[in-house]
Amino acid sequence: MARNSGPETTARRLPGDLAIWFFILAELLAFGVFFVVYAFTRANHVELFNAEQLTLDRTSGAINTVLLLTSSFFVVRAVQVAEAGFSRRAAPWLAAAFACGAGFVVVKIFEYAEKIGAGISLSSSTFYMFYLSLTFFHFMHVILGLVIIAAMWNGARTGRYGPGNMNGIETGAAYWHMVDLVWLILFPLIYVMR
């Protein structure tokens, strides 16, 4: 499993560090289990879930989807620029990615403030338990992702990345795409699907 530590000669190489892929798989598994449990629980309480789902702010959810997707696009651009040998030019792309991610956090904080103001907590109902738990776990991942993007930005600025040294930037990018991917399932599942 950990075999690709030697020189990489094959054309299909794994972008980023092998360890991040184990991490990503573990994260996807944890979220995946949570989604499956949500689905089964919803099947038993369809009316409750449908009613309370209407109280969620779909507009801010949609804005956040756009923000995360755009952010991921910027990260892709940063990786491409770095691979072309222009590490420093990747920095603005990463800064833009960071800004979008930070935008997600701001929107989410407003959304949470509104819900907490309405007296909603983890103990309000099964639906709100899922809504708050899942979005909060994801929220924490976004924050970790922002820290990682900041580190990548710093690396890019100092010219660390290039065709021969893509490991760091690709590892961070893979993580950020995972955060994005989870949201792309989370948003329709919790906010939209009826």
Partner: protein, 460 residues
Amino acid sequence: MKYTSQSVALPYFIAAIGLFVGQIVFGLAMGLQYVVGDFLFPEIPFNVARMVHTNLLIVWLLFGFMGAAYYLIPEETETELYSPKLALLMFWIFLIAGAATILGYLFVDYNTLAEMTGNNILATMGREFLEQPLLTKIGIVIVALAFLFNISMTMLKGRKTVISIVMLLGLWGLAIFFLFSFYNPGNLVKDKFYWWWVVHLWVEGVWELIMAAMLAFVLIKVTGVDREVIEKWLYVIITLALVTGLIGTGHHYFWIGTPGYWQWWGSIFSALEPIPFFAMTVFAFNMVNRRRREHPNKAAVLWALGTGVMAFLGAGVWGFLHTLAPVNFYTHGSQITAAHGHMAFYGAYVLVVLTIISYAMPLLRGRAANSQRAQVVEMWSFWLMTISMVFITLFLTAAGILQVWLQRVSDTPMPFMQVQDQISLFYWMRLWAGVVFAVGLVTYVASFFVKGESKPLITP
């Protein structure tokens, strides 16, 4: 042994084995008390025997971890220990304090012991696993701090490897979580909430880091596989352990008065807890299969592989059996819990300590590996203890299923003690399996005294 200061590990390992023997003696006594209730009564009642059995387990594992740290940290950091004298001093303090505590349990009434040791100043006693008098708890903190100081200073002046960082992280976590044993709020829910942070955030959190680091160290030595590969595995294992274990410990919060979301959080995250243990199994076998050398210490390899398998079974599979809230609603605190506790502690932590002892002890005694005869005896002890532990676990599981059925599921539930009578057959069988375990342990101790031509140590 590459650094002379590594030799401070020797007394720690010897003490660990000695206390292990004590633990098993009390285990046997209790096993008999399960079926012959007044055995040793009133001298050593069940509750006291249980306290000694569990406290000795924790203490000897701590001796093992400390010995392991004193052995592997100098070798990993490629420098002598910061202060071998401090390590030896702490050894004696810990041993004497530990022995005094156990004698206190055995010869002084627990209430009197509490009065004598200042429990009225700061009440910390009377809770499972945290029964130690205040003085002992303070002693543990002092020993732990001195130990961490010693190890951390050694690391600061030497090479920093992933193994030593993970080990240190685990040891610091161990010490920090122990501080919650001093927190004893009047609110019973809060008390229980933080009570789980001591032993249980150890075993499903930071101890997994210690275990992974110890296993990785031994595997590098006996297989000669590249450090890089082993370090990648370590990263993966500790990430998985922390992602699943820290929130997964919520499976203890189902029925203690905490909010209901813990039933979801605890169930979901703890259901994933077998994964890091499975990763450790795959890791151990993968490394041994890709070995680049035939290490003369075959016994150490056996213990290492045994750790992988038994930790996954005991902690992973037997834990999963009753971790989901709807299942645990019935099985909570039954013999199924006891079954899981036995195999998990043995598989994960007893075996990993015995693994490093098996690897390091011959080196500490000035040879690469023990004689063929000694190793054969040692491997016999592995199989005797491991197989009998499997049977202890199976008998307790059977007892647990029957107990849950008779006492909690059936339409006409029976009272606790009546159920205990019904399942006494399994307790007898568990006792006999325990006797075999004790035979295995005696064999283990004997293996240190088997003579024969040992592999000489080739020092570079």
